[in-house]
């Protein structure tokens, strides 16, 4: 059963982890797809919005060309875009005037550019449009350094002229070119504004030829791109690209992945820990069960042996009595003649002594098996003192000091004589294990509803192998031992619902701990 579980549990756990991993993997994929859809939705909304903005602005621009009857605030703003165009032109012309050797007139992307000398003579030109002579004169005369002519009803072109040192440069922007510039300015304004407003990486607009019309800012590397044709009448053939940063999406996926890995790690650690704990518990439980089985086995053996011994003791007692009486009669009535009298009496004494010994053994057996004896409430200290008095002489003769630190007032419900017998056997066992004197310490600890009596000697100790057998009948390591004392003590303590634990190591002394319930009805279940 244990083996099956040892395989099934880790297998189940591994399967569980695989399932969780798969679920997490698909979950992250779903999140990624959702984010893609969300980015697409966002890009479409921005696309539609920007396109609408462009349509409105360019519609107003077209109205402006047709001279709207009423100038609304929107027209008023769009009219101001010419300022931007003039500013940009002025900057470009200024740059060219300062750096003539660089690229010449080709440096300006405008169609019509004319360069004059200080006498008003054309020295270079690009394009065919003429510059109004009046404007040239104003610059050549030194009256002004910059002239601007805004579009008027008769001539819808914009002219800008500038003098810097010995150079005079004029640009003329015809109506279609001006229209394109206005569109660029308006679209650039919209793009800049919407980029900031929606916090997007970049918006780029390409004209019908595929050239970049508006949008200079570079898109980041990790971006989502939506590219579509602009469905605009004014910007026919134009395309717009919208770049949305994936940073947020990447962060979301990373956070989800990290969270998932953490969950997986926690699950793995907790699962592995649980399995480990389960096996440790199982091993502990198996060990405990084994111990209990062993205890049960010992007890059963003790009980059966005890019963057998009890029966035998009863059977032996009667012939013993008869032998004893016969010996008494032999000693009293059948003493032989003088020369053999001494030997006769010596042999009778030997018989009597051995009979007494056999009787003692029988009594001990009978004592140990009197489980039905009544329980009474006894002071533990008095009980132990009585035992110490009995064994005191033997201990003193071997130079052993017995220390009893049991406090008064600890009462235990017990079979008085049997418990005394148990203590006696344990203490005698301790005395006999100490060959060179020493000390036996007896202490009692009350731990409701139990009491713990420890008997610690400073003897030679018991080896691990011996420890496993000390409660077995007839097992002894002593020359004159019977192997009965400790098994009987064990049985008595067990009959009281208690337990005996032995802790020992060879050469370091032995401690017997007798655990007893304070009340007879509170017997230990273990």
């Amino acid at each position: 059963m244990g083996d099956k579980r040892a395989v099934a549990l880790p297998l189940f756990f591994a399967l569980f982890l695989v399932l969780i991993t798969l679920t997490g993997f698909f979950q992250i994929r779903i999140i990624r797809n959702n984010i893609e859809r969300q980015l697409m939705g966002e890009a479409e909304i921005i696309f539609t919005h920007v396109q609408r903005e462009m349509d409105i602005n360019l519609e107003y621009l077209s109205f402006l060309d047709r001279s709207p009857v009423i100038i609304t605030p929107y027209f008023f703003n769009i009219m101001a875009f010419d300022e931007s165009i003039i500013d940009d032109l002025d900057s470009a012309v200024g740059r060219l005037l300062k750096n003539p050797a660089e690229k010449g007139l080709e440096a300006l992307s405008l169609a019509n550019v004319v360069e004059y000398d200080l006498g008003g003579k054309i020295i270079a030109r690009k394009g065919n449009s003429d510059i109004p002579a009046g404007l040239v004169r104003r610059i050549v005369s030194g009256e002004e350094t910059t002239v601007i002519r805004m579009p008027v009803a008769g001539d819808r072109s914009l002219v800008l002229g500038r003098r810097l040192g010995e150079r005079i440069l004029f640009v003329r922007i015809d109506a279609p070119e001006l229209e394109t510039l206005r569109r660029k300015v308006i679209l650039k304004d919209i793009v800049d504004r919407e980029e900031k407003r929606f916090n997007i990486d970049a918006i780029k607009i390409y004209d019908g030829k595929g050239d970049l019309f508006v949008g200079g800012s570079d898109a980041g590397k990790n971006t989502f791109l939506l590219e579509r044709d602009l469905s605009s009448k004014v910007l026919s053939g134009f395309r717009m690209q919208i770049f949305i940063s994936r940073d947020l999406a990447r962060d979301t996926i990373q956070r989800s992945a990290i969270g998932f890995i953490l969950i997986l790690a926690v699950l793995f650690v907790s699962g592995a820990g649980s399995i480990y704990a389960f096996f440790v518990m199982e091993r502990k439980y198996a060990k405990r069960v084994k111990e209990m089985e062993r205890e049960m086995e010992i007890k059963e053996r003790l009980v059966s042996l005890g019963k057998l011994a009890s029966g035998m003791a009863h059977e032996i007692r009667n012939p013993l009595n008869a032998i004893s009486l016969s010996v008494q009669r032999l000693k009293r009535e059948f003493v032989p003649s003088d020369e053999k009298k001494e030997d006769y009496l010596t042999f009778l004494d030997i018989i009597r002594k051995e009979l007494t010994r056999v009787n003692g053994i029988v009594e001990e057996f009978l004592q140990s098996t009197r489980a039905q004896a009544p329980f009474s409430r006894e002071d533990l200290r008095d009980l132990l003192e009585e035992v110490i008095i009995i064994v005191g002489e033997k201990a003193s003769s071997k130079g052993i000091f017995i220390e009893n630190v049991t406090g008064t007032g600890i009462h235990v419900e017990c079979q008085r004589d049997r418990l005394k017998q148990a203590f006696y056997n344990i203490i005698i066992n301790a005395i006999e294990s100490m060959k060179d004197g020493g000390k036996i310490a007896i202490a009692v600890k009350q731990k409701e509803p139990l009491v713990e009596i420890s008997v610690r000697d400073s003897g030679s100790g018991i080896s691990e192998e011996e420890l496993a057998r000390i409660f077995e009948y007839y097992y002894t390591t002593k020359d004159k031992g019977m192997g009965l004392g400790l098994p009987i003590s064990y049985m008595i303590v067990k009959d009281h619902g208690g337990d005996i634990k032995v802790m020992s190591a060879a050469g370091q002394g032995t401690t017997f701990v007798i655990v007893l319930p304070l009340r007879h009805d509170g017997a230990m279940t273990a």
Binding site: I56, E59, Y60, F63, S67, P68, V69, I70, I71, T72, P73, Y74, F75, F76, N77, I78, M79, A80, F81, D82, E83, S84, I86, D87, D90, S91, T146, I148, M150, D189, R193
Partner: protein, 139 residues
């Protein structure tokens, strides 16, 4: 009764969006200007357009000057400050000029037309003007 409430609610929600869809051409058509009104309004426009252009030219010139001076800002700090102040004044003048234009145009319109005109201007301002940088009117 329920139907009436529903219809009224529908009107409340739908009417502004319908109004918001009005383009300039619809607005101009909806005004139904008479011929004398149209002539008057166009005269006002032409007069003000020249003024605005001249203000814009002046503003451009000042910007150019400011750019030149900004190349050596420490040496020209006083002049830069002065020109920035003048640019502010030009912006204010242009704004005031536009308000004056609006008031002159309003005077040529009747009550209904004036309401439509104000409403359309407010709508434009609400929807679009807020996005332009203040003081530069679209720049």
């Amino acid at each position: 009764m329920t139907f009436v409430v529903f219809f009224l609610l529908l009107c409340v929600f739908i009417t502004p969006s319908l109004r918001a869809q009005n383009s300039y051409s619809e607005f101009e058509r909806g005004l139904q200007l008479t011929e004398p009104q149209r002539t008057q309004v166009e005269d006002i426009r032409n007069r003000y357009i020249n003024e605005w252009q001249s203000l814009r030219r002046e503003s451009s010139r000042k910007h150019r000057e400011l750019r030149e001076l900004s190349r050596e800002p420490e040496a020209n700090s006083a002049r830069i400050g002065r020109i920035q102040g003048e640019l502010q004044e030009l912006d204010t003048a242009r704004h005031n000029s536009y308000q004056q234009y609006r008031s002159e145009v309003s005077r040529t319109l009747n009550h209904r037309q004036r309401e439509q005109y104000n409403s359309f201007c407010d709508q434009e301002r609400r929807k679009n003007m807020q996005r332009f940088r203040p003081g530069r009117h679209g720049r």
